[in-house]
Every structure is written in C-alpha cells, then in structure tokens.
Symmetry: C2
C-alpha cells in the first residue's frame, strides 16, 4: 500500500517535469487511506522558493482539513525531504513519511539538499550565508508578550 | 543600521502578538536599504504550519521582485530561523541574515525549533516521526526526465 502511494508521488514528479516544466519532485498526503492533497515542485512557475512539492501538499492538506496540523496524515514524497520540508513536516506534525530517492540522488541531479543539510549542522557564524545574532535589549519582548497573552493559540 | 532594521522585525513580532493574536515572531526583508516585505507569524490565523514570519516575508519579497531568488536581499528576523526557515533562506539565496533572540529562547517560550534542529541531525530512521525510504525501481525517473528536459529552469 505504501509502495502504491509512493508511486503516485513519483508519477506526480514526472508529470511536473514533462507537462508543467517544473522541478523533478512530487508529493501527496494521505488521510485514512485516501489522497487528500498533492503537488509537484512549483518554485520556478510560482516564483516562490518555498513552493517545494511537500510544502505545497502540506498547505493544500491543511486547507482541506481546516487545521494547521496533520497529525493523522502520511506524506509520500518522490525524494527525501530537504531541510526546509523536513522542518515543515515537524511543524505540521505529520504521522509518517515515505520517500523513494534521497538527498544524494538530488545532489547528483544538481540540487542543494545535501549542501543545506551540511550547512544546518554548522554554527550560524560558520555558514556560507552570513548569519549574525545582534544583541538588542528588547530581543525577548515578543516572547514576554506571548507569555502574558490570555487567549493565545499555541502551535 | 542593522540594529534599526532588526528592531523593526521585533516590533512586527510584538504587534503580531498583541494586535493580530499571532505567534511571537516577525521578519522583514531589505533590498538596497529599503524594506520590501515583512510579516509576523501567521500559522494559526492562516491555518498554515509553514506560515512562519520568514517564509511569509520571503514569499512576499519574491512577489515584489518577481523572482524566485533574493540574492541581493537581507533578512532581519526577531528570532534565529528554525530549520524550515533556514532551508528557505538557502533556497531563496538571501545574502545575509540578522536575528535577535535564538533557538534556546524559542524553546523556553514553548516552541520546537531546537528540538527540530536536533531531529535533523539524526539519521532518518532514528527520528521521532517515522521516515522510511522505500526501494522502487522508478525512483530515479523524475531526475532522468529532468536531465533530458530541454527548456528546464534550474533553481
């Protein structure tokens, strides 16, 4: 059953390349054995660097279930999620993830997934993109306001 | 100058909590010394787990500059980016990132950023969310199609 859904994600990836001129990735989300959302990679068509297949499918699934969490859903994706998509998977609190190719296959195809995984493990000041924490006295103010907010919605 | 823009991101975060009942995060994007995009965290209001302040600001900035890359832009964010947002920063190819609070401050406020950083460094099969690579004979087909696609748009 997992193989069947994963094959659907691969088909979506192939269709995305040949018919939609998009990136070679596809993802679907399944709830109770039924596909509720799916997408190819839409980065270049949507002019949105966050429009990876997994992110698009997560956004669509959230619209369908009308929630910002997908706790009882399974993600099938043609390739191992990149760090951005892996983060999204944790924030969406998906139950399980199945994938076919991996970050090394993606690297061979010219994509940065494996490079970004390596960057993430570095200290911020050692990364290729300059990242710097500046010391400001009001740095904690958003968290303090959040803490004292009465009707906040945790996530 | 960096401090001034970073303070704007913090103000956005505070406003997001007190006026919009959103999460305690804010981010702005600056190009040529001018703010071109900015957002608070919209996860619970948009029912979108990917609607972190940085992701929202990146998407908005891409719409403004009409490109899927932001190579000459700087991101200012009230808190160190989570792995999802850090991934998005790399895909958007931002030039620099400045932040005020960090992942440990976020953890103290009840957020998963630091937990997700730790999860990312694990092998997929050792993570809290079940992740499994299934061996399918057509796993590489999307990359093969991508490779032979004549008018593809690399990203």
């Amino acid at each position: 059953m997992h193989e069947q859904f994963l094959r659907q994600a691969i088909e979506l990836a192939c269709h995305n390349v040949t018919e939609l001129n998009g990136g070679p990735y596809g993802a679907i989300i399944v709830k109770n054995g039924r596909v509720i959302a799916g997408s190819g990679n839409r980065v270049t068509q949507n002019l949105d660097p966050t429009a990876h297949a997994e992110i698009m499918a997560i956004r669509e699934a959230c619209r369908i279930v009308n929630d910002f969490q997908l706790s009882d859903c399974i993600l099938y994706t043609s390739c191992e999620p990149c760090p951005m998509c892996l983060g999204a998977i944790y924030w969406a609190r998906l139950a399980e993830v199945y994938y076919a190719s991996n970050r090394f296959d993606a690297a061979r195809a010219g994509f940065d997934d494996n490079f970004i995984y390596a960057e993430l493990e570095k200290q911020p000041q050692q990364r290729k993109i300059l990242m710097r924490q500046l010391s400001l006295h009001d740095a904690q103010q958003p968290f303090e306001l959040w803490h004292s907010q009465q009707n906040k919605v945790p996530y």
